[in-house]
Symmetry: C2
Subunit: 353 residues, 2 copies
């Protein structure tokens, strides 16, 4: 597949990816090369990565604990301290080998170490491939609040190697698939239709490529999220709150990002129906597609109260009002839509129904 | 005095400064305005600042503890959490009212909160006025290592109001004066000569203005410190190591930034004499000027060992070699000069002599 040119770097695929990386390392003569991994990617991905680099480079490994719960400043401190102890300097490189936690946190650590060193992302989960690999967002959570601390900064390059997907279980693949479905909902009815037909996650290369192209087109037009780019937040206003809540409170099982935004998309599709005329048939289509792939979560009234309370911390909010991205129809989106809070509870009722 | 246009913002002076800030706040309609202070500026500067803003704006105050020792990620966390609790959003503004710790840390906190909110610096120390107010460097220390974590990002505007200097003691004024002397040494022999005549810190406006102009000229030519800008690090390679060491170890009294770089400049002037032909007369002139204004520090051989060990963490170092900025003559500087370690101990002997 052809490389995709993003705002500040390029995404390479499969074998070409490793080739381009080897070339980049030869040309750039970094003083040291670090690879950030967690215990999972250290075991399942690092050997393959090393093998494909041909043994010609020296890598220092920095390992952190996996999981969204560790995507915080404390883990960032560990990475900074490790870089410092291992004599990283401004001409060093950090390669982030892992899922979204690794690429987001590693990107932030690199962007702020000595006021910024180069970094390269090698996403190993479906979610990170189709979402975190484009867009120049780096960051960590602040307590329960997702991605509150971060900067906009792009990796030198991104390598998308779908082989790494074989290391994932079904639940993680589903989580990434939710973001792909979002790309269909916000920008392409025909892509949405293709995704509905998917019943196995083998040979996903072309579909991944299409997701990346959709996201990249959007980000290129509005890199700093002033307008258009906000459509990528469809399902995420509720999704982030639900995800945070599920990780923080013991009332719900901890949800993966994609699982949370799948619910968020049903809720926000409902809001779209009530405020922007998204047709009932399309609303039902969305709900049934997500419910087919994701187990229903049983929210109590108390859960709903607390999730709604969390919405006010959403980064997209200004002046105390909560802005939603809504669908006019599948593939066509409207941003900055203020929605009365009364509808929030109705949305949950519709989801639970 | 005329405003100075920097790379990404403008520096305003005295009364015009307050006027321009009031205008900026009216035009920008920030959702909330926060002021970051420490216990000193809360007491000595905030009332004057508020009085000059004319009571038309609502400010929320965030207070941190003063001192370099608190310029760390933990304090940053406090600021982020406070911003979060007080419902700061992406359209909020942070005004940093204080010395270099406040402007560096506040700038970093703002640059990373929700991936970046606007900030404005109001330096209240001489050091922050002539140094931290230009250049777009933000950051915090990592343990003993100065400014290891940060980003390049410029405030929307900088207000330089020399009235605030009346709140400082002689030692703090001297510390700032060391940076002004550095500007003479690296870029202007005639400015150096003017500064040598200064025997009181009243009416410093014109001299401050000249320092800012020198620094701004340099930064405008090389904002990201690829080449020319490195000359601003004269005295800072040893200076930072000495400052860190004095704060961390109990062997020495804790030094202010300017006190440490004054020593650094004598040491690096000595290296300049030995490797780049800085004349003996000028070397002696530099040493005697700094010794006139700063108390000599009594380093033991063990202190010197440990300070030299710290040099390897300097951000300017690459591939394990230590790069110095050296003087060819007063007002004329050379960057990226690798110096054999043997000379380091000789430099300390010269200082102690």
């Amino acid at each position: 597949m052809d490389a995709i040119t993003t705002k500040n770097g390029t995404i390479y695929f499969d074998d070409e990816a490793y080739y381009k990386l080897r070339l980049h390392l030869k040309e750039n003569k970094y003083s040291k090369i670090f690879i950030l991994v967690d215990e999972n990617t250290a075991k399942h991905c690092l050997p393959e990565f090393r093998a494909n680099m041909g043994g010609k480079f020296n890598f220092e490994t920095i390992q952190i604990n996996s999981g969204e719960i560790n995507k915080n400043i404390e883990t960032c401190m560990e990475v900074w301290q490790k870089l410092s102890q291992l004599d990283a300097d401004r001409r060093s490189l950090l390669i982030n080998l892992g899922g979204g936690v690794i690429t987001d946190l590693g990107g932030f650590a690199a962007s702020t170490f000595k006021r910024g060193i180069d970094f390269i992302n090698v996403p190993t989960t479906l979610l990170a491939m189709v979402d975190a690999s484009i867009g120049g967002k780096t960051g960590v959570d602040l307590g329960v609040l997702k991605n509150q601390i971060g900067v906009f900064n792009s990796p030198q390059m991104v390598l998308v190697v779908p082989d790494y997907l074989s290391t994932l279980d079904q639940r993680q693949l589903n989580s990434g698939f939710a973001e792909m479905m979002k790309h269909g909902l916000i920008a392409s009815g025909s892509y949405w239709t293709s995704l509905k037909k998917v019943d196995s996650f083998e040979n996903m290369d072309k579909l991944i490529y299409e997701s990346l192209t959709i996201k990249n087109d959007i980000v290129m037009q509005d890199p700093e999220e002033k307008n258009l780019r906000k459509i990528l937040n469809f399902g995420h206003t509720f999704g982030h709150a639900i995800e945070s809540y599920s990780l923080e409170e013991n009332n719900l099982p901890p949800l993966l990002h994609g699982e949370a935004i799948a619910i968020g998309m049903i809720l926000e599709a409902f809001l779209s129906n009530r405020t922007m005329g998204l047709g009932m048939y399309q609303l039902e289509d969305i709900k049934s597609e997500f419910n087919k792939r994701f187990k229903k979560v049983d929210f109590t009234d108390d859960d709903v109260e607390k999730i709604v309370e969390l919405l006010k911390f959403d980064k997209k909010n200004t002046r105390g009002s909560i802005n939603f991205v809504v669908l006019k129809r599948i593939g066509d989106t409207i941003i900055d839509n203020k929605i009365p809070k009364e509808l929030f509870h109705e949305a949950f009722s519709y989801y639970k129904d």
